[in-house]
Amino acid sequence: MSTPPLTPELEAVLDRHGRDPTRLVQILREAQELAGWLPPPLITALARALRLPRARVEGTAAFYSFLYLRPAGRYRVLFSDNVTDRMQGSEALLDQLCERLWAEKGRVTEDGLVYIDTTSCTGLCDQGPGLLVNGWAIPRASRERLDLIAGLILEQRPLAEWPAELFHIDHPIHRRDLLLAEPPTAGEALAAVLAHDADGSGLLAQVERAGLRGRGGAGFPTARKWAACRQAPGAVHYVVCNADEGEPGTFKDRVLLAEYADLVLEGMTLCAYVLGAGRSPTQGLIYLRGEYRFLLEHLQSALARRRAAGLLGRAICGRAGFDFDIELHLGAGAYVCGEESALLESLEGKRGVPRNRPPYPVTHGYLGQPTVVNNVETFCAAAVIARHGAEAYRARGTPDSPGSKLLSVAGDCARPGVYEYPFGVTVREVLADCGAQDAQAVQVGGPSGTLVGPHEFDRRIAFEDLATAGAFTVFGPQRDLFEVVRNYVHFFAHESCGFCTPCRVGTAILRGVMDKIHAGRGARHDLEQLEQVERAMRLASHCGLGQTACNPLRDLRTRFRPTLERRLASLDFAPAFDLDAALARARAFTGRDDARAHLHTDTLAS
C-alpha cells in the first residue's frame, strides 16, 4: 500500500500534539476539521505517523459520533434530539430544513453539500431547539432562523461568515446561592489556603468537614476521593475535570464554564495542591464535551489569564514547588465518556469504553497514575469551601447533603435556566419558582434519574431523597409520558457503547419493544419482556449507563402504569370459559369419555 504524504497542515496538527498517541482523539478531530471527514488513506497515514496499529486508529474513530469515516457533507446539520427539543418543535423543523435543501434525514445529499440528522441532547434545553452545524452550537431554532441557515448553505458560505447572532448563547441564572452568589475573584481562595496551609492537609480536612459530595450524581465524598489519591504513589497526580455534561436536560456545567470559569479552574488548582502537597508533580485536564466546542477559546483565554497572573504554571502564587497547569481536551460525541473511567480512556486517545474496576482511578487513573475525576460543579464547590470555610458551607443544605445544588430547569415552565438551591428544596418549590403550573411529572436527574408525579412533588432534592446530577425537566399536562420515556429509551440505545451484552442488546430490545407498543401492537407479553431485559441490565451491565438505562421505564411502569397500559393493544387474560367443560353434554349424548373426547389446553396448543 502506498501512503500519500501528509499535508503540511496535518503535519502541523501532529506536531502540535507532539505525535503523541494518547492525543489520538484530538488529532482525529483536528484532522477532520481540515478534511471534512477521515478517508481510509488518512487513517493509514496517521497510524503510521503515530506508530499505532491501523485498527486502533480506525476503531477509535469509529467510536465517536462526531468523527466520520465516510464522506459526511460539507455542512453537517445535527438537530438536538432531547425530549425538550422535541417539545419545542424540533421534529417539524428538521423536516422543514430537509425539504428546503432537498435532503433526506441521515443521508448525505447527492452533491455532497449537506447532511441532516439528529444528535443526542446538546445542552441547550433552556433555549432550544438546539442545533450543531459542523460542530458549532446554534440555539433557538425556528422557521425563520432555519430559512436563513438554508440560504447560507445554498450559497455555500463558510461558517466563519455566518452572522454571529446565530451562534449567540445565553446563560440564564434565575437563582443564586453559595456558588453563584458573588462573582469569584481569581486567586482569592488559593491565597486564603496558601496563607495558612503548608501541604494541603488543612484544605483536605476542611473539604471533609464541609461534607462535600460529588456533584456528578453519585455523591461520593470528595474528601475521601482526594485523600485516597493523595496517598497513592505515582510519578504525577492528575486532576481531571469532567465537563462531559451529556445527561439529557442538563446544562448547568455549560453555564458554570461560561460564566464562572475562574471558579472551576480555582477548584482544580486547589485539588492539585491537596494531591501534590505543594511538592510533587501535578497536572490538570478538562474533558469538555464536543457539543461545547464554542467554549474552547473562552476557556483557553481563561487559562492564559491565570498563567499570566501566576495562578497556573510554575510556583503558583509564588509558592516554590507548587507547579500545576491545565490542558483542554475536547470530546467527540459520546455520552458514555461522562463515566469517569470511559472518560480516562478517551483522554488517553482510545475508545470511550468503561474500564474494569478495581483498580480505581484514584490509584490507577490517567496513564495509570493516581487521578481525581470530579464534576465541574464539585470543583466550584471546593473553591467556595476554601474561600468561605466549611462551617459556612455546612450551614446550607441538609445534614446528609450539605451545601447547594445547581439545577438545569427546562421543559414546560415560564423561566427555564439555572437555579441554585440549598439541598433539601422540594420539587414543588422549584416548580413554583420557574413558573410551572399543572406539571404532571418532573424528570429529576435526567433519564438515568427519577421521573416523579404530583403526589411526590414534596420530595426533596438531596442525595438521601431525589439524587440528581442537575437536570430538572418539567412536563405539562399536554405531554404524553409514554412518548417522553420512549425518547429516553432511544437515547440510551444510541449512546450504549456496545461493549457488554446486556446493555448493547438490551437497550436495542427495549427500543424495539417501545416502538412496537407505540405502533399499537403491544401486549402484556411485551411488558414482561421489558422486565426481563431490565433485570439483566441492572444485574450485569458493565457501567452505570446500562444499570440506570431502565430507570425511565421503571418509573413509567410503577408510577404511571395506566399511561403505559393504555397503549397496549391487548392485555393477556385467562378466559373464564372452559372449552372442555362445554363438551360435557356432547360426551353424555355419545356415551364417550375416552381421551380423544376431551380438549386440553396443551393439545390445543400443539
Binding site: 500500500m1 481510509p40 488513506p41 487513517i43 493509514t44 496499529p53 491501523r54 485498527a55 486502533r56 480506525e58 476503531g59 469509529a62 467510536f63 459520533s65 469515516l69 459520546a334 474494569n356 478495581p358 440505545a493 444510541h494 449512546e495 450504549s496 457503547c497 456496545g498 461493549f499 457488554c500 451484552t501 446486556p502 448493547r504 442488546v505 438490551g506 437497550t507 436495542a508 430490545i509 424495539g512 419482556q529 426481563q532 431485559v533 433485570r535 439483566a536 444485574l539 450485569a540 451491565s541 458493565h542
Partner: protein, 244 residues
C-alpha cells in the same frame, strides 16, 4: 507451608494463587462457571457478562474479578442462571444464527452454551442485522452474521499474531467486527490461515475455506463432550488446582 489461600464458590472452598481471577481459580479447581468471551490464553475482556457471579453480594464478571481470600462467590443461583439464559437469548436475537446450516455447528461455543443453559429459543424478536460476508480472501471466509463481539480474534491478532487485522467499530447495536485495511476487505490484510486469530473464533465468523464439514456433525467437539467438560479440560492448572 503457609495456609492455602481460598474463597468460597457456592459454599465450597476453591483454592487460588495470588493474581488469579475467580474464573481461573474455579476452572483450575474443576468448577465450571459459564463464559463466552473469556479464554485462558488471552487478557480477560469482561464484556459478554455470561460469567457474572455475586461476590460478597455484589454482581461482578468472574473473569475480571481478582480472587481474594474469604470471598463468598455465588454462581449457580436461580437469579444468575436466569441472567445467563437471558444473555444467551440476547446474543441469538442480535446475530443471524442458523445452527443447522452453520459449518461451526457442534464446534460452536454459543450453540453449546444454549444447550448447557437450556435456551431453546431466542425469546426476543430477531434483529436481522445486515452483515454482509467477506469472501475476498482465498483461504478464509468471514461470516459476520454470527459474530458475538467477544473480541477474541482482535486480541489474538494483536497479542499473538502481532498484526491487528481486526477491530470493533461502531457503538451500541451498530458495534461490529471490522477488518482494518483501506478497502475494508480481508484479502487486503496480511492475515494468514495459520494465524491464531483464525483459530480462536468461538462461533462461525472466521472459517477456513476448503475444509468445510471435514468432521461430520455428531462427531464434533461439543457433540462428543459437553461444553462444561471441555472448559475444565482446557483450563490451565498449576500444582495448586490439580486435584479436580
Amino acid at each position: 507451608m503457609n495456609t492455602r489461600l481460598s474463597f468460597l464458590l457456592d459454599g465450597a472452598e476453591v483454592p487460588f494463587t495470588p493474581g488469579q481471577s475467580v474464573i481461573q481459580a474455579a476452572l483450575a479447581a474443576g468448577r465450571y462457571i459459564p463464559h463466552l468471551c473469556y479464554h485462558p490464553e488471552f487478557t480477560p475482556h469482561g464484556s459478554c457478562k455470561l460469567c457474572t457471579v455475586r461476590a460478597d453480594g455484589r454482581p461482578a464478571a468472574a473473569c475480571t474479578l481478582p480472587a481474594r481470600a474469604g470471598l463468598q462467590v455465588d454462581s449457580e443461583t436461580e437469579e444468575l442462571r436466569a441472567l445467563r439464559r437471558t444473555l444467551v437469548q440476547m446474543l441469538f436475537a442480535e446475530g443471524n444464527h442458523f445452527c443447522p446450516s452453520c459449518e461451526k455447528s457442534g464446534n460452536c461455543v454459543l450453540q453449546s452454551l444454549g444447550y448447557d443453559l437450556e435456551v431453546h429459543t431466542a425469546g426476543f424478536r430477531h434483529f436481522f442485522l445486515d452483515r454482509p460476508v467477506d469472501a475476498s480472501h482465498p483461504d478464509i471466509l468471514l461470516d459476520f452474521n454470527r459474530c458475538v463481539l467477544c473480541r477474541l480474534c482482535v486480541r489474538a491478532s494483536e497479542e499473538v499474531d502481532g498484526k491487528g487485522v481486526f477491530y470493533l467499530g461502531g457503538r451500541g447495536v451498530q458495534r461490529r467486527l471490522l477488518v482494518s485495511s483501506e478497502s475494508g476487505r480481508l484479502a487486503d490484510t496480511d492475515i494468514a490461515v495459520t494465524d491464531k486469530a483464525v483459530e480462536v473464533c468461538p462461533v462461525g465468523v472466521i472459517l477456513r475455506k476448503h475444509v468445510g464439514f471435514a468432521v461430520p456433525i455428531g462427531r464434533r467437539r461439543y457433540d462428543v463432550k459437553p461444553l462444561r467438560e471441555r472448559a475444565l479440560e482446557d483450563a490451565p492448572r498449576g500444582e495448586e488446582g490439580t486435584h479436580g
